[in-house]
Amino acid sequence: MAGMELLSDQGYRLDGRKATELRKVQARMGVFAQADGSAYLEQGNTKALAVVYGPHEMRGSRSRTLHDQAVINCQYSMATFSTAERKRRPHGDRKSTEMSLHLKQTFEAAVMTQLYPRSQIDIYVKILQSDGGNYSVCVNAATLAVIDAGIPMRDYVCACTVGFVDETPLADLCYAEEGGGVSSLALALLPRGGQIALLQMDARLHQDHLERLIEAAMTACKGVGKVLDEVVRQHLQEVSVLTSD
């Protein structure tokens, strides 16, 4: 691992991409018939499945109902076969709980929860194959699922992870790049307004580089947003044709 260059002299990364290139995104909406909304998204080799139930009556603890908005309940889990070594605890450990909290926070900012008082919206995301950028892929998949369920949102929520190597921002990191001690920034953005729903950065980065990195992240997110937009419009065309009568 130490010998591999994350960014070669010609500007190529480990998988042959350029610094600002995103991985290939493929997505499908409405994969499950019984859920209110569902979506499957692949970004490079990372695959995620998102399912949305709701809004429905609050199950479980009645005391957690909010009188003026809906409660969003997120659960993030990784399949045991998703990583190179078999994962012992798919959910319930600290990292998964933290991810679930971040997802919840991201969608609370974007979904218009004021329209559904005293209800609950459940979002479940599962990583089927993990190759870097787990959080971003989850957010993108969950956005598609929420749109599929017909729950109103202000705008798409697009997310991307960027890293900083050799004074260059790298967009959409894969697992090898993430693990190499590279400072990585995960950003969830609402593309039209340029508003940041979640910002998370680990590892050391000098303050002067922060602005460039955020800029690169926003550009990458907007790129992802375009792809998601296409997927949604395509799906709309297909389904609306069938129901028209």
């Binding site: 909290l101 900012a109 307004g193 590892a203 000098h206």
Partner: protein, 439 residues
């Protein structure tokens, strides 16, 4: 125990004050509360007071086998405990949302930033390494636990000394502190978190929120930096939307704050070192101030006194002379001093209008001293809304009054007035005077 929710008027008040750029404790937008760092008797024990938030960190070490995929590196373990002692909202069950958030943030701030040289913690590669365990306990929760915890953790790590080891072939000897001086950990840099709270969808920003401000905030941005202006971690939480400019501004503020706090930590460590060298007593017990009345102590608030004299003389000149002279002391009974005569007794007479209570109606009480009856009188009088000069005897009887007899009094009866003089506005006194009259 469920936490008492913040009432709506408190919430509105706080938000309104923030809009006017005022904080409840008088701080400015970017001000931290008073930060105090003290150390315990052992190495590695540190107490941090941030305003009223109190946090304690303790570092301990142990020789263990290393992880398989990292045989040359020591292990760092962080833990933040939220005990019910800190706040009634915390429960014994460990995995509350806040506890997960704080733990993960502290781990990311200290572990991912590689502030400690883990390779120096290796004793025998693949067999024995040091496991450094940092436990942070929250003793009192008054807002901004993250900052206090991070300051406590990194200061405790700086303060800590691990035992010296030597290896002879396969044998590993651990020296006790008496045999050889313990060695400090090799710390590259000190990451410190700064919390920014946002209000009204990101319009207003405050640094170091107190507990009440935390309850009304929309979201939180935590930036961890070291004094070399390197950002170690950024985390936004809460359902707010940020703009890039806001993030950049916060990072600039954070760098200023972090350098201030780092200086403070260095000073505290220096003081502690000199204290220990001088052989003086140090530790937690010393840091508690003794022989002090445990009363609410408030810091002095600065008051503007530049033109106090002029304002005072103005007020005195413009004020009217007071109507009464202050009467002198009278001693009705040995052991009792009486100054003045007090107002007339208004018991037994209920006014319908509240405004009339505010007016100083001394004439009201005239109706009270009924000589004939000792029963309670419930006489309802309708007062006109004038200043009380003309008082017609418009008396309205209460229809559901259970009194058998209702005495309607003439308010202008002059002979009744003096009876109440000399009595305090005490019912007993009035009754006494009534009795006296009867006799």
């Amino acid at each position: 125990m469920k936490d008492t929710p913040l009432s709506n008027c408190e919430r509105d008040f706080l938000l309104k004050a923030i809009e006017e750029k005022k904080r409840l404790d008088g701080r400015q937008t970017y001000d931290y509360r008073k930060l105090k760092i003290t150390f315990g008797t052992d190495y590695g024990c540190c107490f941090v007071d941030l305003g009223k938030t109190r946090v304690m960190a303790q570092v301990s070490c142990e020789l263990v086998a290393p992880k398989e995929n990292r045989p040359n590196e020591g292990i760092m373990f962080f833990n933040i405990e939220l005990s019910p002692m800190a706040s009634p909202a915390f429960e014994q069950s460990r995995q509350s949302e806040l506890s997960v958030k704080l733990n993960r943030q502290l781990e990311r701030c200290l572990r991912n930033s590689k502030c400690i040289d883990t390779e120096s913690l290796c004793v025998a590669s693949g067999e024995k390494v040091w496991q450094i365990r940092t436990d942070v306990h929250v003793l009192n929760h008054d807002g901004n636990l993250m900052d206090a915890a991070s300051i406590a953790a990194i200061t405790a790590l700086r303060h800590f000394r691990r035992p010296d080891v030597s290896i002879q072939g396969d044998e590993v000897t651990v020296y006790s502190p008496e045999e050889r001086d313990p060695i400090p950990l090799s710390i590259y840099h000190m990451p410190i978190t700064v919390s920014f709270s946002f209000f009204q969808q990101g319009t207003y920003l405050l640094v170091d929120p107190s507990e009440q401000e935390e309850r009304v905030m929309d979201g939180l941005l935590i930036i961890a930096m070291n004094k070399h202006r390197e950002i170690c971690s950024i985390q936004s939480s809460g359902g707010i939307m940020l703009l890039k400019e806001q993030v950049m501004r916060c990072s600039k503020i954070a760098s200023v704050k972090v350098s201030e706090i780092t200086d403070l930590i260095e000073k505290a460590l220096e003081n502690d070192k000199t204290a220990r060298k001088a052989g003086g007593r140090c530790g937690y017990a010393e840091s508690i101030t003794q022989e002090r009345i445990t009363a609410l102590k408030m810091d002095e608030t600065p008051v503007e006194v530049t033109d106090v004299k002029e304002t005072a003389s103005d007020i005195i000149q413009k004020a009217e002379p007071s109507p009464h002279k202050v009467p002198s002391l009278v001693v009705p009974v040995p052991g009792v001093g009486q100054v003045g005569q007090g107002l007339k007794n208004t018991w037994g007479l209920e006014e319908e209008d509240d405004d009339d209570e505010e007016e100083e109606e001394e004439e009201d009480t005239n109706d009270n001293g009924s000589a004939e009856q000792e029963e309670d009188l419930t006489v309802m009088e309708e007062e006109p809304h004038k200043t009380g000069e003309s008082r017609e005897a418009n008396v309205v009887e209460l229809s559901d009054s259970e009194e058998e007899e209702v005495i309607i009094l003439h308010p202008e009866t002059p002979d009744r007035t003096p009876k109440n003089t000399g009595s305090t506005s005490h019912q007993k006194g009035a009754a006494k005077s009534k009795k006296r009259q009867k006799k």
